[in-house]
């Protein structure tokens, strides 16, 4: 396999609705940003790009099949080859890896991955219905299909098993909303406290409106290149570029029906021992086995043996505050069951920001410095790519340039992880990015 570099990226401002543009024009905003950031001319890009991947989730939201080809022509990339990748909430992360594959394999030297979702075309509750169709339509959906309800059942079991509290979950919301306050791309930029989260409207007990990400219209684009592709870009732009190197890709999947998940033994990471989990039935519905599998395989490829020591930041899929806590555990930042205490200690907060609370261990490993899905929004096909773009900017040290302020720049960031996750932990994709210049 050849080394693959993430060279440039762009994100449209995520918003509740973008009726002012069609999806193609929205993707072009992100695409043009990625071009402009490296000084690549539109026609030149069309000439030197070898192929693309289109990342979008729901044909129902669009009421437009084969929408990928319509973006391809809008971006002037016809007749270059393209394909669409879909995997629920993990669509963006899977597409990122699907763009990595042909570059690593030697088929492409330069691959563009573009993603978007336009969720405003139906009302919120019809949107929830569409999303719930990503559960078994014979056995799950008809019972009262609602993803917030599914995740709520998962975290109730987490609370029962490990003593996780709603206040610990609320802290994730406090962190991510307060971080996003400094991120101009985010949909919800608010300074909030634990009480605000608990006082907001109950959606699916114990999850409130502020425990849950929002639907969004948005797009994101990344450029992936081999060394040859990087040279090609540097020649075309006359600039020395500052890429990130993709050093690990991992994936995992679990049974669609939560009811089918096994109650067996934990899949261990290198720094864990079987004795750590005596008597724990795993994954049950309290943990995401696919998240553990994806982390394990990505770490293995990147040579990471203790993620807490060897990662500088993580952008992870916090569709729910509860799933962020569960994901700390899957990714091995703490042991299974300790996710609530992990956030309570302040470890995943930014070290430099004042959240209005005193934490004993604030800023050990910033998680979702951008504000994550909860605050940025979750235009499904764009989300995982947005994470990649923000991670690239962290590794470049260019957050200040792109956000207009330095507050969310992780100091001396050399290695980060991005984590993309679909419905109740079915598809999960984890990729490791390192400073590549």
């Amino acid at each position: 396999m050849r080394p693959v570099y993430l060279v440039s990226g762009g994100v449209s401002k995520f918003a509740k609705a973008r009726p002012d543009v069609t999806f193609q024009a929205m993707v072009k905003e992100a695409y043009d940003y990625a071009l402009q950031d490296i000084g690549l001319e539109f026609r030149k890009a069309a000439e030197i790009v070898d192929g693309t991947v289109a990342s979008y989730f729901s044909d129902h939201f669009m009421r437009q099949l084969k929408a990928g080809s319509m973006v391809q022509d809008y971006l002037g990339l016809c007749p270059k080859p393209s394909k669409r990748v879909e995997g629920g909430g993990a669509t963006g992360g899977l597409s990122f890896q699907a763009g990595w594959e042909p570059v690593a394999a030697g088929r492409y030297d330069l691959c563009v991955v573009y993603g978007w979702e336009t969720m405003s075309h139906v009302n919120t509750w019809k949107g929830n219905e569409f999303i719930a169709l990503a559960s078994d339509v014979s056995f799950d959906y008809p019972v009262g299909g609602f993803y917030s309800g599914y995740y709520a059942m998962m975290v109730v079991r987490h609370m029962q098993e490990f003593g996780t509290t709603v206040e610990q979950m609320a802290l994730v919301s406090v962190k991510n909303h307060n971080n996003a306050f400094h991120n101009p791309y985010a949909q919800k930029r608010m300074n909030i406290r634990i009480e605000d989260v608990r006082a907001s409207e109950m959606v699916a007990w114990p999850l409130t409106m502020l425990d849950i990400c929002v639907m969004s219209d948005g797009a994101a684009v990344v450029f992936l290149a081999s060394e040859e592709g990087l040279n090609r870009l540097e020649k075309a732009t006359g600039r020395r570029l500052h890429p990130a190197k993709v050093t690990g890709v991992g994936g995992g999947i679990d049974a669609m029906r939560m009811a089918d998940r096994p109650h067996g033994g934990v899949i261990l990471l290198p720094h864990e021992k079987a004795e750590d989990y005596k008597g724990l039935k795993y994954p049950g519905v309290h943990s995401f086995r696919a998240g553990r599998m994806a982390s394990k395989t990505a770490y293995q490829m990147a040579g990471i043996t203790n993620p807490m020591e060897e990662l500088d930041f993580i952008e992870l899929h916090d569709a729910y505050t509860s799933s962020e806590i569960q994901t700390y555990e899957d990714m091995g930042l703490c042991r299974y069951g300790e996710g609530g205490k992990f956030v309570e200690a302040g470890k995943p907060f930014m070290p430099n920001l004042d959240y209005g609370y005193r934490f004993p261990e604030q800023g050990k490993i910033p998680v979702n410095p951008s504000g994550g899905l909860i605050a940025c929004g979750h235009p499904v096909g764009a989300t995982g790519l947005m994470q990649a773009v923000f991670a690239l900017w962290q590794l470049q040290g260019s957050i200040g340039k792109h956000f207009g302020n330095e507050q969310l720049q992780v100091k001396n960031a050399r290695r980060g992880a991005i984590h993309s996750h679909a419905g109740t932990g079915t598809y999960v994709a984890v990729s490791i990015l390192e400073k590549g210049f």
Binding site: W125, F139, Y141, G145, M153, M159, A259, D260
Partner: protein, 178 residues
């Protein structure tokens, strides 16, 4: 075609769908870029012909007041939510009747939901567990106060009840505190 004839050739005008009788339009085309978007309603309705296929006996069971799961013939793994082929050994499963009484493994109260279920909120969802059965079953729980949820509900003994008028949906069975 003559000019007179050409005038007679028309796409028929109808009065269904969206009719806008007057649309503001600038004199100078340059001003069009400042125009607000036109947003219309596009209805979309489909009736699917959905077959339960090999899972059909489960629904026939509910219509007959029986809750059926499956058990893998070779490895004995037992599924509360039926599947006819085992996830672990690939073997074919047999139908088995599940006990009427089980326990709440986990639950939630939905105060919102998909559009289809909004009118039913707040409703309680549970995953039911049975001793000796390896997987769980998703169902509605009735007979508890949805406005007073508590972790104490986990472990609660619940009993299956069946709808008299079967709709051939998994909600033909629901649970109540035993």
């Amino acid at each position: 075609m003559g000019e007179k004839e050409a005038k007679r050739v028309k796409l028929p005008e109808t009065d269904d769908g969206t009719i806008l009788f007057n649309v503001p339009f600038p004199k100078d085309l340059k001003d069009l870029k400042g125009m607000a978007p036109i947003i219309i309603k596009q209805p979309y309705h489909i009736d699917y012909i959905h077959s339960y296929g090999q899972d059909s006996p489960f629904f026939a069971g509910l219509a007959n007041g029986k809750l059926l799961g499956t058990r893998c013939a070779p490895c004995k793994y037992t599924y509360a939510t039926p599947r006819l082929h085992c996830m672990y050994c690939g073997g074919e499963c047999d139908w088995v009747e599940l006990p009427r009484e089980g326990n709440v493994h986990t639950f939630t109260v939905c105060h919102y939901g998909s559009e289809e279920f909004l009118k039913e909120t707040p409703f309680v969802l549970i995953l039911v567990e049975w001793p000796g059965v390896d997987t769980l079953f998703l169902a509605r729980l009735m007979g508890v106060d949805p406005l007073k949820p508590s972790l104490q509900w986990v472990g609660m003994k619940v009993r299956a009840r069946f709808k008299r008028l079967s709709k051939f949906k998994p909600t033909d069975v629901y649970f109540v505190p035993a």
